[in-house]
Symmetry: C2
Subunit: 188 residues, 2 copies
């Protein structure tokens, strides 16, 4: 569970003792490409660490579907809405490749938070780091062009074009596949 461990340790330093409490609750699972791991409008009892694979989160409106997150090795798949409020979330998370994940029950995690300050601080740091990432993504959409964000996305995930199809990336950038294709031809 190399990638998952690295992720957990990177969030907030934990003693072996506390780390063991957390990792002993993880269950290894494998899922196939295109499986929907987390569903909108449903309270989600698990969160998942991606050990190997790729995923996307999306929301569906009446006539459209918008992808707003991609995840790879070491990232966490979860519906924050569901996890924080125990209310149905608005996001679906679907696998883009056959994947290996470690699942964790959210109720167990919350028990751990309530009984160990170290783990509670780990959970705080997790939420804070995700908050910053979300805020940065949000601000980037507000004042960088799709072309710039595309190039930054590639820098951040060099394997992206190989692993995620263009239409998904376009949706993430808030433009059509046609426009992204034109952006790419201009870069060349």
């Amino acid at each position: 569970m190399e990638n998952t461990l690295k992720k957990i340790k990177g969030i907030y330093p934990l003693k072996e003792e506390h780390l063991a409490l957390l990792t002993s609750q993880l269950r290894r699972k494998t899922y196939a490409k295109n499986e929907v791991i987390i569903r909108a409008n449903k309270v989600e009892p698990y969160l998942y660490f991606i050990e190997k694979g790729a995923a996307m989160a999306f929301s569906e409106g009446i006539d459209n579907k918008v992808i707003f997150w991609f995840g790879f090795e070491g990232d966490i798949m979860m519906s924050y809405n569901s996890y924080v409020n125990q209310t149905p979330g608005y996001e679906n998370i679907e696998l883009l490749e056959d994947s290996v994940v470690y699942e964790l029950r959210t109720d167990i995690l919350i028990d751990l938070y309530n009984s160990h300050t170290a783990l509670s601080n780990w959970g705080r740091k997790l939420a804070e780091l995700e908050l910053i990432k979300t805020e940065e993504r949000y601000i980037a959409t507000l004042f960088k062009s799709a072309a710039v964000r595309y190039q930054e996305l590639l820098q951040h995930y060099p394997s992206l074009i190989k692993r995620v199809q263009l239409g998904h990336i376009a949706s993430y950038l808030g433009i059509t596949q046609v426009t992204l294709s034109r952006i790419r031809s201009e870069i060349r």
Copy 2:
């Protein structure tokens, strides 16, 4: 400190003892309209509860400026970037009215987190709630029209048009003041 207390208690239930630890660290301050409370590119040693007043957060690019948050009574002004990583943030927060705030040193807050599980969980919940709000705002920009988001914003803050000028709201919605003016005339 009615609004501030309500906010603190609403995040996560705290015993009197822990609540007192937190509130004893608050300092009441008054600031005038147009003052910039939090500056970009600077590590920010305080966070602020808005007891009375209004504020906006914005980022500046080379040729543009984008407002991405409004805050009123009971909201918290802080640079999460600065608070979480102790690195310079990218956001400015400016007051839109003469305001009364309670300020809190972030280093004191972090000490409290490390010494009391209850407060650490309060901090976790704060980050989680802010995360959900940011994510919702982000997703709303991705798949609701500016017109719809304008109307939802008014529902959420009925006093908005009285307290915030149109150009600021337009910037928040990611459109020009001219376009927002036309949206308004169509609603009538």
